[in-house]
Point group: C2
Chain length 680, copies 2
């Protein structure tokens, strides 16, 4: 068994600091383990107590009988080192440190935390926390947590197949309570606190490998544990995360909360998207999406048929589809004709399909509408929107939806914008039939979009950088001319040109490149050529000799290249980062300056990914042609970016191709710099 | 009494088509009026029935005893004209037509609807519907609706001070059911259906004038009834609307639903903002905002102090504040010092303030924290974020929040991301104390932002166009030169220059404007001067005579102006529209082409409004200076726009100032066109 699995399936738990003293937290896990029917051995540890809640207590973990799978450390910060020592001595492999007083309190606490990690690592002990609220294995009743949630008499564990992991304990167990209240079953709940050693991402990745887990939900403040992120993605199960610290103010609050370093929010988005991990903004969205994961909602595509009895709901659904990047399915003529046989004239057989209340009053007609819509090959998702549902028809309607979900295999979701109590059984029938239910069209569409994205994971999750390409990284300090030659050899277009070694040669070279040339000084270490006067544009044969002499005077060689005009300029860059090498594609010129119009993606990228990136540029119209401007060669740009991705994936350094000229036909890398790792 | 007030406070209601036949809708309003304790007279009307649900029935409305305030028409479409005739004959002034089979079914139905409106107008009868579900006056139990909501045994009316009006009946009564389920009281609920005559906006405006109404919620598909929109805004009560048809697909669905014409969504946003009307995207947001209206949440500003026991919730709140345009309040040093006396080291006295669970366990400490924060003059709103709330402390915490709301007068909201059942009374205590409660920080912040916007209504709601300015509109076909002269006389800077009448005069004029000039042909009707070769830039004295001769050859006068360089070009335009004259401010040049970077506002605008508009331009950095570019004179631009607004408000035609050159110092209108109303 992996050591971390003890967080939810320990056969024995030692609780260090267990006491019955009123108000003390140390007794709670013992109480909770007993209350929720945990069948493993519960081992209270206390220097003086002989019994705790009726169980025999032991002075140390080492004194406990039999192997101890998990230790909960519930003592003050200054006594944690002794507890760790005790655990290590007893051969425990996993501990939960609930104590606060570590990195969250400042510099002194951070030192204590470092020492704690060193001590645990030396002893082969994995540590959850400190400053966390513990973990729960729902199936086994393993409530190794002191959350007040489990103190309430009304709390029942609702078992299920979802995992919920939260860096923030209060928020995490709040979310657990909301899930249980909704009837959304969980198999596992873990809070990770300061993440001194074990991260939320590692716990998620470990849970993703549990056979019974069908979906994962998380609240995380950091994505720095990239290795676990990759492992999580590789498990292939649907994942939704709240990644906090989206705004500058939020990122500052994250730093003061757990000391996590801020990741550029665009990098976060790019990385999560690449790994098919859905990002949501708050806990209710997380649970909404979780309900779809639990229902097995995995749409085959993004085309949604809306079936409604409320014109208003249909319109709100159409608005929400546009907002979340899904499409209204275009129903086949045969589908519309078949609907027209059933739907009255004051309804609509166009998508959104308004079947009307008359159809709803006869569930057999509603069933026919649903069957026809679900059978249309242009439909990936059926979204049924209702408002006030009452009376005896509701059971038939719910059954019809569950049946079409089962028989068509397509994703079916319901928006029910009306009170549950008017037909109390309907929601449960739907959920039991694999049809998640939401209160508004907007929330249902948000979930449908999340389910589509979770299904659109790239076929093969890319491994660590360094596996692709196969060409070794250039030498440190490679010249622009040599770097361009390397690019050219790998199918990446650069301007025609060459290095010249005399004024006469320069004149000849201008002729070779078409009579108008760019001259560039090639001086080792001179990165900002333009600012240093090392670049001259539009040089004709007459001026060539003079320009050559001046640039040669800067102390290096001179590169003569064709003068490219009529292009849209873009930038293509690759830089190493906390989540691996990241590709940046942006518009150059004034748009770059004013809008910072750059789209990011982790390497490697393929053609589809690069096309999507181009489309996401706010100024993409500039490339596709706008108001009389001609389009430029986007295909060639896409090809260039994919070649760059393949070439540089293993390099580790920083590549700046800026500008790249995108012409009506073809592309050229006008300027190219490679900075090796560790260079400045 | 206004005729429309009968929709909720009729003293007598005739129900045309009343029957006890099972499945028929015609009996429902009679049943519902009796069930919900309506004290007015209920008058079933049926050609044959003598009694309906125990009440005496009448063959016609005219045969009913005493005056009839409201008629409900529940018969098939083809029998509606006779029913209307009956109502008119009986002197009824308001009717609800529930029948479908009108404009929503196509061209034939649209003709029927036109005839219905004409008939009603001729008879002095106001008509709600057709194809609507009716209205409810909650206080009097006037359920003049056939919504199945009122058929359910579990439905209880929850009285309150909010009005809810919906074009879509199904969605509207679905929302009513959700409001009642939440305990959110309503005073009035009205569905308007096809809006053949009475619009949702007119109903909202009428309800806004009810003394007991404290806030209004609506679902609308059209804003074309601008007069009612103005009346609604003028009532000064908080309003939130779902305006459907935000996307292209949604707008198409609106057109097929009720035939409403699409309004450019940016115009919708601009108009609603101007009137201080909050726009939300779905029903749950509408009810969330409604709860704050009902609680009297009217923040004095946009600075929010977050008080939390969960670091995670605090971060999510900070992210949401940034997303919704609110600010984290900067707490005074004294506030932080006072907090530090109470908050443990592992908490935080910076905003978001993490008071920790230790403080929560002692409500008197929590109360001290709240008092200190609420007393800080930099705080407009207190947002308390909790997760799992259990146990005996909760009552004290809830009481403390309600008290600080009451005593400080500041807006207080709660996000409680944990199950209600863990401390069932807390929500009710908070709500009773004027503190609305939401399930997540994100939802609470959305509501706080809505409440701030609803409070930020412009002091005086502008009246109809034509009241401002005082300068008459220019003559149709005014020349550029004359229009610029008019602008100059009204303090709007134009280039130095004049019309010349000979080659010699042209040479002299070039000298007068500084030696470099722009020449423009001033030919009546020639709008696209540049395309017609009627503009020459950067003309020097040598070229002046030749250019003059060529332009004079186009058949009109020639305007010589200073040649302006080094400017950022913007466009300023005013065009009439369905919601009155709309001002457009945008960036010129490539940014206009690629991004359509234009911000709209209804006229008139003031300095603050124009500053906000400039800030909302995506390329505003170009004006404020970016990456080494100098800033240009934004103050002068703002002054120009305000002057234009004042000047043209009453004109009715279209004004295009494009481009306007914004210089490092000053502005100049380089090109100016006025198109009178009706011109093309």
């Amino acid at each position: 068994m992996r050591a971390l699995a003890a967080l939810w399936s320990a056969r024995s738990v030692a609780v260090i600091g267990a006491t019955e003293r009123p108000g003390a937290l140390g007794g709670r896990p013992v109480e909770f383990l007993l209350r929720y029917g945990y069948q493993g051995r519960v081992l209270p540890v206390h220097p003086k107590n002989e019994k705790v809640f009726g169980l025999p207590a032991y002075p140390t973990v080492a004194a406990c009988p039999g192997p101890v799978d998990l230790a909960m450390i519930m003592v003050a910060a200054d006594r944690v080192p002794a507890a760790i020592e005790d655990c290590v001595a007893a051969g425990v492999r996993a501990a939960i440190v609930c104590s606060s007083g570590f990195a969250e309190t400042g510099a002194e606490g951070a030192l204590r935390q470092e020492a704690l990690v060193a001590q645990a690592k030396a002893g082969g002990l994995r540590v959850l926390g400190p400053n966390c609220i513990g973990s729960v294995g729902v199936a086994s009743g393993q409530v190794t947590s002191f959350s007040p949630l489990f103190e309430a008499a009304s709390t029942r564990l609702v078992p299920g197949s979802l995992a919920l992991v939260s860096q923030s304990g209060a928020l995490g167990f709040g979310a657990v309570s909301l899930a249980f209240e909704r009837g959304l079953g969980l198999g596992w709940a873990v809070s990770t606190g300061n993440e001194a050693e074990v991260t939320a991402l590692e716990v998620l990745a470990t849970l993703a490998e549990e056979p019974g887990c069908t979906g994962l939900l998380g609240y995380v403040e950091s994505l720095a544990d990239v290795q676990s992120l990759r492992r999580l993605a590789a498990a292939g199960k649907p994942v939704a995360l709240v990644k906090a610290g989206r705004s500058a103010a939020g990122a500052r609050a994250v730093a003061s909360h757990t000391g996590a370093l801020a990741t550029d929010d665009r990098v976060t988005d790019a990385v999560l998207r690449r790994y098919g991990i859905v990002r949501v903004s708050d806990v209710d969205e997380l649970l909404d999406v979780g309900a779809a994961f639990a229902a097995g909602t995995r749409p085959g595509g993004d085309r949604v048929a809306v079936v409604t009895t409320s014109g208003g709901s249909g319109i709100l659904a159409a608005d929400a589809l546009a907002q979340h990047g899904l499409r209204l399915a275009e129903l086949a003529a045969g589908t519309r004709a078949a609907l027209a046989e059933v739907v009255p004239a004051y309804g609509s057989v166009e998508n959104p399909v308004d079947v009307t209340a008359a159809v709803m009053a006869r569930p057999e007609l509603f069933r026919r509408c649903l069957d026809v819509v679900a059978a249309d090959p242009a439909v990936d998702v059926v979204l049924a929107c209702f408002c006030v549902l009452t009376g005896s028809d509701v059971a038939g309607i719910a059954e019809a939806l569950a049946r079409v979900r089962r028989e068509s295999g397509k994703a079916v979701l319901v928006a029910r914008t009306g009170a549950e109590h008017l037909a109390p059984g309907a929601g449960a029938v739907l959920r039991a039939g694999g049809v998640p239910v939401y209160s508004t069209p907007g929330r249902a569409v948000l979930v449908a979009a999340a389910a589509v994205r979770a299904g659109a994971r790239v076929a093969a999750v890319p491994g660590t950088a360094g596996t692709a390409g196969g060409i070794a990284a250039p030498a440190r300090g490679i010249s622009e001319a040599d770097f361009k030659e390397l690019l050219r050899e790998n199918g990446i277009p650069v301007p025609v040109g060459r290095v010249v070694d005399s004024a006469e040669d320069a004149v000849a070279a201008v002729g070779e490149v078409g009579g108008r040339a760019v001259f560039k000084a090639v001086v080792p270490g001179l990165v900002h050529k333009t600012e240093a006067g090392g670049v001259e544009l539009d040089v004709d044969p007459v001026a060539a000799a003079g320009v050559y002499e001046r640039l040669a005077g800067l102390g290096g060689a001179v590169l003569v290249e064709e003068f490219v005009t009529g292009a849209v300029e873009v930038l293509v860059g690759v830089a190493p980062g906390p989540c691996g090498p990241m590709l940046a594609l942006g518009l150059g010129g004034i748009l770059a300056e004013v809008l910072d119009d750059v789209v990011l993606a982790p390497l490697p990228v393929d053609v589809g990914e690069v096309r999507r990136m181009v489309g996401e540029l706010r100024g993409s119209a500039l490339l596709y042609g706008v108001r009389g401007r001609a389009a430029v060669d986007v295909d060639a740009l896409v090809d260039l970016v994919v070649r760059v991705s393949s070439l540089v994936s293993g390099w580790g350094g920083q590549v700046d191709l800026n500008p790249v000229a995108v012409l009506p036909r073809g592309v050229r890398v006008l300027d190219a710099v490679y900075l090796a790792e560790g260079a400045d």
